[in-house]
């Protein structure tokens, strides 16, 4: 579904991505984790067609990304700047749906349904500034859902909310992505989160970014904020990803021998 091959990007002479290759199968949720400033947002912006990478190739559903694809949605980190403050939640969600050829009533219905899915059925007529950060990020997610993309990109979507809200949002994303069978690329600097949310975790090295490891998570389909995080497999994988993010080499072969 998504094929990123040998992606290279430099800002001027400053190389940020140094040959990154990532694949995501249909319906897969891939987490990309890496230290701050390593080039994760640059990667996402190249996939979204917002910037033209210096080199390499991105295919979505077999199509090369030469401009912004129409089957893709993005949830940005900074919720306070991602929704339009002059519109209600429902209008923020409904606005992109014009492109889908829905009339006003159908747009409104789709927006209400999407808000309902993220648990905000009552907030349809609220303005962003009347909502908490977590609620605004939910609206952002609802906007992406209503758009029915085949690929969902999220750039540190839970980076600016408190811990409890973060856990709620993680479970929400797991639920809706599975429900819609959406292929999802979720970018985070949080090791714990990448293992909890992902079907696979791709670890990037410090700048310039390369793929340090591509690890299947294999924790099954059901997750629980407390029980899952206590599983041996979870703890081991988290330690492994942590070592890799800090620049260590993979120890999985060593672990398997024991």
């Amino acid at each position: 579904m998504l094929e990123i091959t040998d992606l290279v990007h430099s800002y001027g002479s400053h190389r940020v991505l140094d040959g990154v290759s990532i694949r995501a199968a249909e319906g897969e949720l891939v987490c990309v984790v890496g230290p701050s400033g390593c080039g994760k947002s640059t990667l996402l912006r190249s996939v979204a067609g917002l910037i033209r990478p210096t080199g390499g190739r991105v295919l979505i559903g077999g199509q090369p990304v030469d401009r912004i694809p129409d089957n893709l949605a993005v949830v940005f980190q900074d919720y306070s700047r991602s929704l339009y403050p002059w519109m209600t939640a429902a209008n923020n969600v409904a606005l992109p749906l014009r492109r889908r050829g829905l009339d006003r009533r159908r747009r409104r219905e789709a927006a209400t349904a999407a808000l309902d899915q993220v648990g905000l059925a009552d907030a349809a007529d609220k303005y962003p500034w009347e909502m908490s950060g977590g609620m605004q990020q939910r609206v952002s997610i609802a906007r992406a859902l209503a758009y029915r993309p085949s690929l969902l990109l999220m750039d540190e979507p839970f980076g600016s909310v408190d811990a409890q809200t973060r856990e709620d949002l993680e479970d929400l994303v797991l639920r809706v992505c599975a429900h819609h069978g959406m292929t999802t690329l979720l970018i985070t600097h949080d090791i714990d989160e990448s293992v909890y949310v992902g079907d696979r975790v791709v670890v990037l090295t410090r700048s310039p970014a390369r793929v340090a490891a591509d690890l299947p998570v294999g924790l099954g389909d059901s997750r629980d904020q407390i029980a899952t995080r206590q599983l041996d497999a979870f703890v081991r994988l988290r330690a492994e990803v942590g070592r890799l993010v800090r620049g260590g080499s993979s120890t999985s072969t060593v672990l398997e021998k024991h």
């Binding site: 917002l50 949605a73 900074d78 403050p85 002059w86 519109m87 992109p96 492109r99």
Partner: protein
Amino acid sequence: MNVIRAVGRLWLVPVTLVVWEVATRAAEQPFFPPPSATLARMGEMWLSGPPAHLLLTEQAMDDFGPSLARLFAGWALAAVLGVAAGIAIGCSPRLSGYLDPLIHLGRAVPPPLLVPFFLALLKLSTPAQLTTIVFGIIWPILLNTIDGTRTVDRQHLETARIFGFSTAQRLTRVIVPAAMPKIFAGLRLALSLALILLIIAEILAGSGGLGYRLLTAQRTYLYTDMWGCLVVLGLLGYLLNSAFLLMERRVLAWHRNARQTT
């Protein structure tokens, strides 16, 4: 509480009036009539008409009617032209490259100097007056609109690109609302400038209206009339500004609230 605070702020008005009254009565200068005489004269000139006309006299109609019509026509014209041109220039770096020097040149020309020129060019006095007003007040609208259009949050624009907004959607749903606070600041400044330019235009190219009344009163040594005109102009400016703020508060409610919470 609020009442006390309002009274606290307003006490200066009657005190000033009383001091002025006492001082002007003591000085007995014809050029400085006491405020009570000015007020009485204002009532006589403008508010002694039939109740069916809300007490407005014929002179009030003659003085205020054409002036207000010119003021609003000039302001509306400048708003439409300034906002439209400002959005076009703000969205197009090429256009702004060509026009920026012209804008700064045009802005530097004092509009009153152009009245004789506009008069010669347009003959009739009303178009010449309107042109003077528009030329004098369009700059803050234009510059603020350009600025507002250029400084739309990058993420707001990227969101529009990601979700494939049409050009019209991008303009009406993203760029214009985002620029609205700055556009409104420009419009408000332009409104107060419009009043000044209206009077200048009526004095220099006049055939009626408040500015013309002011001029004739001054020329015929009717100083109380002249002071009446000055007071009413001050009141008019204050009222226009208050009305505009009221409208702005409604239209830009999101902006005020968004700023308070972040």
